[in-house]
Point group: C2
Chain length 300, copies 2
């Protein structure tokens, strides 16, 4: 089928490279420079010792008019606001969108969207954008997807046709897959960014591990988690499997970029407020990451 | 009078340099190398653009036998355990000691000490040891002292004879002066060390400032503070006055040295436990600083 991919960060490049093997992908980028670069040189995928190049059609985002069967939105959650009006305008009640953002803050935006089918996904790959047309595939995971509204026809098609080494799964409950990822992101991302350490250090350093437990407990309380032990086991397992990785939030902090803290801890703070709960650790790490971002802006 | 000063860190060097102007000081050092260096070259004091040298008698700690009228103990709180037996052995119910440690964890050790007079003090000078016989006097404050047990004769003498630029005050309540310093240390030290910023950044960065408020509130709760606003004003005022200083805990962290977190946040955690209160922020920053120390040891 014809697939549009919005956003040429690590996830956008990764999905474009793989899905183009089975589908006709057009990658929409923020700048026309990047579109030209990808159009002329292809996407370079680095995977361990291997280096591959895949040809992909690329265009600047302004040219997206909903012409493809499925559009996959890979931009950060805080960038959604600026592209959703365009999605709405051209969809006019039709069309199919798959959102791959971290966190859960975007769900309330999607409810208002006049689109026929909306899918949600959670990406468990490790990937880093090395430059405008190069992505490093650091960890092979799966992409869990689910239906948010509408029918699942296109999603089933996508899951059935996923290329080798790039598995997609179709799950019954979108809340569940997003919550699972949210918890991992809420614990690992802020702590690694605050301590400036790799993921594995959170469980190897016995003092940092106490903070992992403390923050996880608070997140579990705010989310009214029933299967708490499973989720904690999942956090530890992600730390183990991605032991030498630097989390996306740590990488954002090191590069002086805006982080996704609003869609992760910011969302949990809102949840706590709605439920009239105090969440001192979540509040503390929200302010801490915001404070580091503020320092990087050179405002102090 | 004859004064012994135990410990040749920043505070030990500073007190030796100034008090020797009016008294006969012997400075006791941990290593005989440092004693020889100070004995032969004197103490170099750097104060703004000025550089002065003061001759002081220096000996290794093993030679202390309580021969002086007053002994001032300037070592860190966590080093007290190793020297108190020596103090006890030679004092035999007589003698006069002045303790200048941060925190309040050492008070329970002092109650058991068989010494006639025990004084406590809180140093509000900014000072940094540059090498074994050089100290930089970065901020001129006062040293607040008070009687813990015994009579105040020698302390009054010391306060009356303090040299110019090095004021000592005699205060009625030792709890009050230690609590005031403890609060400042409990908020400014761990946060500057965790964020790796100068003292002033804590109040200039609006997000870090929220954490200052959050941690201070918890400290105030644990200590059952009555004059909360005054103490908060004092914390802010210290951040302003020492705006470009790096706190002692930050300097310890940067130099890979053990910090005083046990005598500061560790003490507050015990207090919280005794009062059956939860103190999530204090717990968090205690573990965080311990975790950074652990990383520096190269254990991970």
């Amino acid at each position: 089928m014809k697939i549009a991919i919005i956003g040429a960060g690590a996830i956008g490049l990764l999905f474009s490279y793989y899905l183009n093997q089975k589908h006709e992908v057009t990658l929409y980028t923020r700048t026309s420079d990047q579109a030209e670069m990808i159009q002329s040189r292809g996407i370079h995928l680095i995977d361990g010792g291997l280096s591959e190049v895949g040809k992909v059609t690329a265009k600047p985002i302004e040219l997206w008019v909903g012409a493809e069967d499925l559009t996959i939105i890979t931009v950060k959650q805080y960038q959604l606001q600026s592209i959703l009006p365009q999605m709405s305008e051209y969809s006019e009640g039709k069309g199919t969108l798959l959102f791959l953002q971290n966190g859960m803050g975007h769900l309330k935006l999607l409810s208002d969207l006049k689109v026929e089918n909306i899918y949600l996904g959670s990406v468990e790959h490790g990937a880093a954008r090395l430059n405008g047309n190069t992505v490093s595939h650091n960890g092979h995971g799966v992409t869990r997807t689910s239906v948010f509204k509408g029918n699942k026809t296109l999603l089933e098609n996508l899951v059935r046709t996923c290329p080798e080494g790039f598995q997609l799964t179709l799950e019954p409950d979108f809340q569940e897959i997003l919550v699972k990822k949210l918890i991992v992101n809420a614990v690992i991302n802020p702590l690694t960014a605050a301590f400036r350490v790799e993921n594995g250090t959170l469980i190897r350093n016995p003092f940092f591990y106490q903070i992992v437990i403390q923050l996880f407990d608070e997140v579990a309380k705010v989310l009214h988690l029933k299967d708490k032990d499973d989720h904690f086991g999942n956090v530890v397992s992600v730390c183990e499997k991605t032991s030498t990785n630097r989390s996306s939030m740590l990488k954002d902090i090191e590069a002086g970029r805006e982080t996704e803290v609003d869609s992760i801890l910011g969302y949990l703070l809102e949840e706590a407020q709605n439920k009239q709960m105090t969440a001192p650790l979540i509040y503390n790490y929200y302010q801490l990451i915001k404070g580091i971002e503020y320092q990087k802006e050179g405002s102090v």
